[in-house]
Symmetry: D2
């Protein structure tokens, strides 16, 4: 299905970095969901570059919703979000760039699109496209919040600097969602930003780890084969540029545990079944168990750097050296977190609508 994902609630993404609009169609959302423009704008702001640690490309992300909303509420039909590309320097791209930037999609795009791809600013592969995903996810996320389902993501690690662990999820999630730079421990922010600037000073870039927690999901949602909650989430998460790993609960560290340590003992919290640990990340057999859903993604360092790099010209099929130029984000991990929030909201809206019907989110 390519640029469309989801079964009952589905999102379609379109656009290129230097095209006229990027956008998203979010289809299948229940009618009657209030559109909170302040909240959409807030999430878009969280995705935008901030200060010295980000690219100088600054856009307002002035989105329009051109279908599916009437009198401030969803109609139940497809919601289309358009975001104009305002700050485009397309003069730089009159000629097709044939020198592949290492670890970008330039060469793979050439193999797939045979030279017809829009290579300007990364084209359809650009992280810019995620702005539309964020706007679509904002609508879903607000609807989930009305059902008591809250999502929060923090920069668990950036440039090797760790944030603290999640403690009280409800208050941690609330705090994160008000921050532009999402760390639980504010001192981590300073250390991370210093490390980012240090890398930038050397013309280099850094990566990190994002951790998401979801509270309030009912138990019994998901499928054993093949649409497990992990499968559905990882499907969309791995489409976010720069994600190279996804893990749930204890994740890769569970590989070194024994079963007696890894297993989550169950107990009763009044009339609710809970587990005393959450190595499962809220999911057993692909289905939610009512505990928080917890997962992490590995975000690679921005592949654009200010250092010469060995590469090839894919037209001439010759070796060459890529000299640095253009815009530069020494880190995107702090910006990607709200993309992760949004992607999570879209998938959860979908699996809930599959489970409980198309009116459930109303």
């Amino acid at each position: 299905m390519k640029n469309t994902f989801g079964n009952s609630v589905a999102v379609t993404l379109f656009g290129e970095s230097h095209g006229e609009y990027i956008g998203a169609v979010i289809d299948g959302l229940a009618p009657g969901i209030a559109i909170d423009h302040g909240y959409i704008a807030h999430m878009l702001t969280q995705r935008r570059p901030v200060g010295k640690i980000s690219t100088p490309r600054q856009e307002k992300d002035a989105y329009q919703i051109v279908s599916g909303v009437l009198n401030g509420k969803t109609t139940g039909t497809p919601i289309t979000i358009l975001i104009p590309n305002e700050n485009v320097q397309s003069g730089d791209y009159t000629q097709m760039q044939t020198v592949a930037r290492p670890s970008h999609a330039d060469y793979t795009a050439q193999c797939k699109y045979h030279g017809f791809q829009d290579a300007r600013g990364g084209g359809h592969f650009s992280g810019r496209i995620t702005a539309a995903l964020v706007a679509a996810g904002a609508i879903c996320r607000a609807a989930l919040a009305h059902k008591g389902i809250y999502i929060g993501t923090h920069v668990k690690k950036c440039a090797g600097v760790p944030d603290r662990e999640f403690l009280d999820l409800a208050s941690d999630i609330q705090a994160l969602n008000e921050k532009l730079f999402a760390v639980l421990d504010d001192s981590a922010q300073t250390a991370m930003q210093d490390a980012i600037l240090a890398a930038a000073a050397e013309g280099d870039s850094v990566g990190g780890v994002l951790e998401t927690a979801v509270i309030g999901m009912p138990a019994g949602v998901g499928e054993p084969w093949f649409d497990t909650i992990e499968s559905m989430l990882s499907h969309i998460l791995f489409a976010i540029p720069a994600v190279k790993g996804v893990e749930f609960g204890a994740g890769f560290s569970i590989a070194d545990m024994r079963g007696s340590k890894a297993n989550d003992p169950l107990t009763m919290d009044q009339d609710r079944v809970v587990s005393t640990t959450n190595n499962s990340g809220g999911i057993n057999g692909g289905i939610t168990n009512g505990m928080p859903i917890v997962f992490r993604t590995a975000i690679k360092p921005t592949p654009t750097i200010f250092k010469p790099q060995n590469t090839i010209d894919f037209q001439a099929l010759t070796r060459t050296v890529l000299e640095p130029k253009g815009r530069h984000d020494p880190a995107i991990v702090h910006r990607a977190r709200v993309v992760q929030d949004a992607a999570t909201a879209i998938v959860l809206s979908d699996v809930l609508a599959m489970r409980y019907g198309t009116d459930w989110l109303k």
Copy 2:
């Protein structure tokens, strides 16, 4: 789509651990692919328990192919594989088990299926179902090999004992595929098995990490949004019971690298574009770049252990203690590797057929 996955080549799984048959329908495979029963049996053998380190449940996995094959070749219509459940001790299950085994799907199944689930031996959640996935994947994998695409998985780590790294992929993959216990360094096998037995002696279980490499994939296959190669693979991998993490290329370790280290420099190997490192795991922008596809999964320790565990009765909603009994696999990581091979083969057959058409695999 629940129990069906894939777009052009799709697999449907069915069956329960103690039902009459488990099975798979593999649909969309090109006509004219030779069925190598020796190879299917070989892969099923690799999934079967071996010696003291596995469950005493021993089955022949005598599969039948009841549709889609004529005169030893695929017809192009759905191939149905049936595997009878022969060694079923269903007498143990006349009463619905209402004590949830921690980190199993017992409680989540109850939340989803309201007591109607087949709980015998894990039912539809059982790892047993993967035998059908293996048989289906064996057909795809043999077809891929005829096109020069080879898949191999090793136990990169088990019970904390590491295997050596991949060196020469072609010969390593070939060697792995002949082994029952898939390690590259034979001394690692002894150490792993000792560690497994040590855990078993304490009534405990262990987990590990599986690493897969694929060579021969053409460049230019996959989609930027949302059906990236990582998305498609992770979707099916996370449906394999016990998988809690999936990472590509450098995976989570890329989070600590700088861009200058993480980026894969490109160069020419005669007329072929190659990279001198492979932190991208053969995929950029969701699309194959012609380098080997490399990924790892985190396999949790078998949740069934021989120790008392705190849990709940989900009918009575009371706390209780689960006393150990029944069959027991102190590790499944070595058995899961061929499931990972099979799942990989199915997904690659699908994305190749989407890219090049339904006759391509012929």
Copy 3:
């Protein structure tokens, strides 16, 4: 998706006319639905050939359900139905038949499967496969009946002989479902069977029209684009061999009406919105309106006839004459009606589960 259809409730079909088994996997049905074997057998009997007007191939259709059912109820996981092919005369087919039977799928199968197709008895194209669809549909249909949704199909016309119109739908549907030859007016049965025998006596075959009515569907189910109720039903109906037309409500006759005649005036029947005519066939804008869903299919005459026919040898690419031999159904319209019932039940189960969630049919 080829051999799988449906979103929340999906059916996968497999098998060939002379293979070991044909079968179906029905996935996504709610847990706790009672399996009524008498009812499944009853529907399979309605599909079987009867007396002199049908093929001498007589099979017991002794199906097995090998997954997804426990203690007589659905578990919520895939239900697999196997029907063995018992009366196979495969000796007739040691050589690939390369003379294309006109208006059969022989030549198109060759173009698609390049000679690897199982051509014995029509292979995967055989109407025999519909037995599995009927068994799967029987389970859905019984579940729908428990929710007050009833489906009935009659032979509206066969060999030019008309049946009477639907009058009281509830009693007409009930009466039809007890009949082997589904006409509302019993005298029509005699006339139709005489006409069929007359054609058979000349080595010829006849077609007809099937009309289905569904009562009890709630209003508000379906989608404007693209999954209208008409779209979903026609998608599966056109997969039934021999169907060449599908029309809803007034169908093609609406083309000659004026709007003032075609429009269905609305009124209140106590607190229920109803229309005083039903030219819309229970669907407006792709969505159910609470009135009976009514549609008709055109069933072509069986293409196998006992007369010499001009055709080609698709291997030699030469003209030839097909001389009559083998089994022969002078009409299948009366047998196809229960296939239409079954297909309808599957689609309605799907759209209802999409609308109201996966537990709704329970």
Copy 4:
């Protein structure tokens, strides 16, 4: 999947009659396809109302392509088409209209969207949305034409007035595609328009039958179950507002034929397999046979008429009479024909890409 249809080439539709934009995303089209704006505009003109026989709402249909096209060629990524709604009289709709127009989707929309639907001008159910489908289909259709596949639709019947039969398909299709009012026999146009005006003069509306022929399709495309060519085409055709019937080849008239008449004898036309009749409509067993694909749709009369109609208020649940007002199309069959062309082009692009791969249409 609701507002998205297709597997390899998929279209997503969005927008409402009185919203800001309607539009379409066409995803999966091969890279390098030339965009012929003159041709898109030409097809949009064919959909627009003409003269006295159509609604006074006149729009320029000034579309924009805002993604997926660079330097006049497709890039291979999603193509987004926006069409602004310019001539909106939304002042008429400050209050939710609760009187259901008979045979419109007003009441069913209420049942599905609970009062949150955009009811202005039919909202998302409006025939206006088909302008976006036409623009998307124009791109596909031009690409198909470059591969020698031509599509043409004529008004076979309108207000009871017949057009002549197709004779020479190649020249008939070419002629049709240049006409605004698509009849093969120009005298039929006069008679049809007179009949439309006669109905309009009485405040009434008329329907008709559209017939489409496709030449140049290769044999061997499509699936036996469930994605037959008939299934795929009917799925999208029944989503076109006003379509109440779809038939292929001889269609419903085949029900009255004997097999000896209905069967299409095969012969050789030099080295090509052809049939001497085409009652199958170019499809056997769901797969193209290389003959022209021929099908017809029944188009109901426009439900908006200038006569009082009995209906209900769905808020008050009371009976009432709908007095005529607003815009009025006494017939839409002549405008729907290009929608049918477009829908056909989209589906054929999809099934061809599934069969031959994503580069085939290039």
